[in-house]
């Protein structure tokens, strides 16, 4: 049973923002609620006011053009992203990631914005977005701001949303030529939260195949989705070979600061970071070569 709250179902972003401006810290936004209702049931979260934005159809969209890149409305469901032909064609890694995010039942109702704002460091979309250099558009009654996905997560289940702010859009730039991106996680059962996960994006120089840029982000390895910058440096400027991939995994493992839980000890997770960063970087590299 959930604690009692007052409920609002605004039909427009403007209406939602004015409710947020009015109730501030006492208010909590619910979208699909696939994560939020669990923490409400556990009484980790007991908002006075719940603002249900799930019905704001204006924020359910996927737009793509080569110059502007990809724009995903915050209320787009996971299932819509998974099945989007545009995303499958231009950002295949997102569709693959969604295919292993929980189950179809959850993906049918849960939204991408809700997932990001829940701020779970074990979540799948955030590390992929960091690897893709995504930005988030945050709206409030006084205007909008755009921040890097990487700056959004602050701590376990805490994100950089001000009291009157809501996430409205995820923006992903078109990757540079010869870029490959991949994401995989360690699961006992398909759809599990990753025991660890790694997202890697690699850009190669045309002609000589030297790694020009790399972005690596880890799931469930810290209190936030963690960018492994030292491991990126191992790749950048090199002609990547097996030894360099192994080294990147080892360095990423030193950057990880995982918690221990019933699914694995901290030591085990650090070992798995070595395996997954190497494995995923290999896939990203092959994709970059084929791109």
């Amino acid at each position: 049973m959930l604690a009692a709250f007052e409920y609002f179902a605004p039909k427009t972003v403007k209406e939602a923002l004015s409710l947020l401006a009015k109730y501030k810290e006492g208010a909590k936004i619910i979208a699909g609620g696939q994560s939020m209702l669990v923490v409400m049931r556990q009484r980790l979260l007991t908002p006075e006011y719940v603002i249900d934005i799930k019905g704001i159809t204006d924020l359910d969209y996927i737009k793509y053009d080569e110059k502007q890149g990809l724009k995903i409305g915050a209320l787009t469901t996971h299932r819509t992203i998974e099945q989007s032909l545009v995303i499958q064609k231009h950002f295949g890694v997102l569709s693959e990631m969604e295919g292993n995010l929980a189950t179809i039942q959850t993906r049918n109702w849960g939204t991408i914005g809700g997932n990001i704002c829940h701020g779970d460091p074990a979540g799948d979309p955030a590390p992929v977005f960091i690897a893709l250099n995504a930005k988030l558009k945050l709206a409030s009654s006084t205007g909008e701001r755009v921040i890097d996905m990487e700056e959004f997560s602050k701590d376990y289940l805490e994100v950089a949303l001000g009291p009157g702010e809501m996430l409205s859009e995820i923006q992903i730039p078109t990757p540079a030529p010869h870029t490959g991106t991949a994401y995989e996680k360690l699961m006992v059962m398909k759809g599990d939260m990753g025991i660890v996960g790694a997202a890697v994006s690699i850009t190669l120089k045309a002609g000589n195949g030297v790694c020009e840029n790399a972005r690596i982000a880890l799931a469930n390895c810290s209190s936030v989705p963690l960018r492994a910058k030292k491991a990126e440096k191992v790749l950048i400027g090199k002609t990547i070979n097996n030894a360099i991939l192994t080294e990147a995994g080892e360095v990423a493992s030193t950057e990880a600061d995982p918690l221990a839980d019933v699914h694995g000890s901290a030591e085990y997770r650090r070992e798995m970071v070595k395996v997954f960063v190497k494995r995923v970087a290999q896939i990203a590299l092959e994709r970059a070569r084929a791109a």
Binding site: A4, A9, G33, L37, I104, Q105, W109, K190
Partner: protein, 161 residues
């Protein structure tokens, strides 16, 4: 005001409802407690077991993880709305004929996941059938019979092809 009832207009199994609902009510509780549609089961209540699966606008969704008020304006189908009077739906008939039942607790959720799958994809591969019921746990591990029954039903619904 906290705890203030809100209006919910939606349809369940084709029947329109206009109700006053406490905001903290979950869809599964509204269906079972208020509408007495107890075919939808409560299992884990943390979106892990799939026993509470219903269809919202034809898509499989877990009713333990949706506020009742979020169904406003939507069409909900529960296991009670699947058969046509006394005539079982081909998915139900295939499960009965094929012995895909075990203790029965997960069955309504299995049927609702299968129904949503076959509405979207009349010719699913075995992998797609597995994916559709991946979120429906069967404590008796009767998965193989369920998968086969859904394939039998799909064939039946395609007219035997």
């Amino acid at each position: 005001m906290k705890g203030e009832m809100k209006e919910l207009k939606f349809s369940v199994n084709g029947k329109p409802y206009e109700l006053e609902v406490k905001p903290e009510t979950l869809l599964v509780d509204l269906l079972r407690e208020e509408l007495k549609l107890t075919g939808t089961k409560k299992g884990c209540l943390v979106s892990a077991c799939g026993a509470c699966t219903v269809n919202i606008d034809g898509k499989a969704v877990r009713s333990c993880s949706v506020l009742a008020l979020q169904a406003n304006g939507h069409e909900v189908t529960t296991i009670e709305g699947v058969a046509d009077g006394d005539k079982l739906h081909p998915i139900q008939q295939a499960m009965v004929d094929h012995g895909a039942i075990e203790c029965g607790y997960c069955t309504p959720g299995m049927v609702m996941s299968a129904k949503a799958l076959l509405a979207e994809n009349p010719s699913p591969t075995r992998e797609q059938v597995k994916e559709a019921i991946q979120g429906n746990l069967c404590a008796d591990e009767g998965y193989v019979k369920y998968i086969e029954a859904i394939e039998i039903a799909a064939r039946e619904m395609r007219g035997g092809h």
